[in-house]
């Protein structure tokens, strides 16, 4: 069954078009579209424009050297991809992580969740023709980046969560700043809700577009915001509470519409929960050390581990196979974008061309992450 012959009866009607890789609606990513007039008959994603062979590189580097390059693919969400890696290596080495380090991991992970969702909402505003949200989200995202920079010292690539704890302690002034930021951001999110989510124009442009049913979400292995917008209450933080997540009170936001609007709104609700968690963690930060001394080349015993956490976009997972040598024998990175990629051709069926960008970005798809 080749793509060319499949639509032979309508060969003169069906037109195939490439969306991307240079296109405002699809950066570093191409969607092959088959169009019938204004309608998309069939779509096929063409990824791999940013495939950098992270998994092969992981086999050439030891467990400490792997930290910086692993966070580059998921640059919006860089702490959340290091957390399952650190958890996996800790599990293999039977490290007992100090309580303060666990809380700092949570703080950094939730801060990154907000940073990632703000970028997501900004670009979703762009695709839904809502310029205010771009400028607001891009501007406010920088306050959270500042907060993360005060803790970790970098703007986007923190390399903060490492096997054995976190890299350094949080400075005391960052705690006050963080608490103030949480209070301010709570009010700010009410404004987002008013200007964007209660906007009739946004409703018209996103309601009922790209609907993913709950059954499809399960069958195609959707995760994260996509699954939660389709009524599937998946949240690894709740399911298997890692890194002291069971200390905090928070909810898993779930919506049932499964459309573009729900996927955007779930991101906002996620941020509200993230602010709650950050506030609790900053207030109850336990004293103690923040990292174990593992040495530059930690010896990891032979074994296999499958560790997973809830990143901003969904389930981040690692399959680490160690043979006892300083380097991983196999390092499989399971990223949510790659898991949600299968949903895209399901959604891009019988939709208008104009709806492609919001549907595509509504999946919270980050091509760099999917390609690895």
């Amino acid at each position: 069954m080749t793509l060319e012959t499949e639509y032979m009866p309508d060969a003169d009607r069906i037109m195939s078009v490439s969306l991307g890789p240079q296109h405002p609606g699809a950066g570093h990513f191409r969607i092959k579209l088959w169009l019938d007039g204004d309608y998309v008959v069939r779509a096929e994603p063409d990824a791999g424009y940013v495939h950098r062979g992270e998994e092969k590189m992981g086999e050439y580097r030891n467990y400490t050297q792997n930290v910086p390059h692993l966070e580059r693919p998921v640059i919006l969400d860089s702490s959340n991809i290091l957390l399952p890696y650190a958890l996996g290596v800790d599990e293999l080495m039977s490290n007992k992580i100090p309580a303060r380090a666990q809380y700092l991991r949570v703080i950094m992970s939730e801060t990154n969740r907000i940073i990632s969702h703000m970028y997501f909402l900004a670009i979703q505003g762009l695709f839904l023709g809502h310029t205010t949200l771009i400028t607001w989200c891009m501007g406010d995202r920088d306050f959270w980046i500042d907060f993360a920079e005060r803790i970790a010292g970098a703007r986007v690539t923190f390399a903060y969560i490492i096997p054995g704890g976190v890299r350094n302690d949080i400075p005391s002034f960052a705690i006050d700043k963080g608490l103030k930021l949480c209070d301010w951001f709570d009010k700010r999110m009410d404004e987002y809700e008013k200007i964007f989510f209660q906007n009739p124009m946004v409703h018209q442009r996103s309601d009922g577009i790209g609907v993913l049913s709950r059954e499809d979400a399960i069958a195609y292995g959707a995760t994260g915001t996509v699954a939660r917008a389709s009524g599937l209450a998946v949240d690894v933080r709740k399911d298997e509470p890692y890194s002291s997540y069971d200390d905090f009170e928070f909810k898993t936001p779930v919506m049932t519409q499964g459309d573009v609007y729900a996927r955007s709104y779930v991101a906002l609700l996620d941020m509200r929960e993230a602010v709650k968690i950050i506030r609790q963690a900053l207030k109850r930060l336990p004293p103690g050390p923040v990292r174990l001394k593992l040495g530059p080349q930690p010896r990891v015993p032979a074994g296999e581990v499958y560790s997973r956490t809830e990143g901003a976009r969904g389930e981040m997972s690692y399959y680490i196979v160690s043979d006892g040598s300083p380097r991983p024998y196999r390092l499989k990175i399971g990223v949510p974008s790659a898991k949600n990629l299968r949903v895209l051709p399901v959604l891009l069926k019988n939709v208008h061309i104009a709806d492609i960008p919001p549907i595509y970005w509504g999946l919270n798809y980050w091509p760099v992450e999917a390609d690895r």
């Binding site: 240079q22 405002p24 424009y49 940013v50 950098r52 900004a122 891009m138 703007r155 690539t157 760099v368």
Partner: protein, 175 residues
């Protein structure tokens, strides 16, 4: 006789040359300056994201760093209208032909900023099987902005450097 004529035409040529110089200074140079000054503050970058540095471009274009105040704003229109190509990070083997295609479609004069360590030397991905070690053998580069990823301020500095280069461009064509 012949010598005198030669001297005469030589003097004439010198005179013409002088007039040319004068005209060059009087009209050509202001024209060049004017044209390049016009280009300077209306740089339109292509929206071609190649890798993760595009996040920092997003931040630079956002309301805090506000790339537009330097006269550059990401163009979401046609490639033919753009005159700046920002290579935002790693260029893979799959993307390299597309990058060249995008560059070839842009109208002259055009400039290239190589952003991030990956687009300069391959950076962190020096031993990856799918990454180009720098983009110099694909397209010519005007300004290199190092960093992994460069901060938004560093990118803006690169942009200002490029504007300085355009201001000092020796010819009317902007190169």
């Amino acid at each position: 006789m012949v010598v005198a004529q030669q001297q005469k035409s030589g003097a004439f040529q010198v005179l013409v040359g002088k007039i040319d110089d004068v005209l060059q200074y009087a009209i050509g140079d202001p024209m060049r300056y004017l044209a390049n000054w016009g280009r300077l503050y209306s740089l339109w970058p292509v929206h071609l994201e190649t890798a993760c540095c595009s996040v920092e471009i997003g931040a630079a274009a956002g309301s805090r760093f506000d790339m537009e105040r330097f006269g550059a704003l990401e163009a979401f229109g046609s490639l033919r209208q753009c005159d700046l190509l920002i290579v935002m990070g790693t260029v893979t083997r799959k993307l390299a032909p597309r990058l060249k295609l995008v560059y070839d479609q842009m109208a002259e004069p055009k400039w290239v900023i190589a952003m991030g360590a990956c687009s300069i030397t391959g950076g962190l991905y020096f031993d990856s099987y799918n990454v180009l070690r720098g983009i110099d053998d694909v397209i010519p580069v005007d300004v290199y902005v190092p960093g992994c990823p460069p901060r938004a301020e560093a990118f803006l500095q690169g942009l200002v450097l490029l504007q300085e280069k355009i201001r000092r461009a020796p010819s009317l064509s902007g190169r």
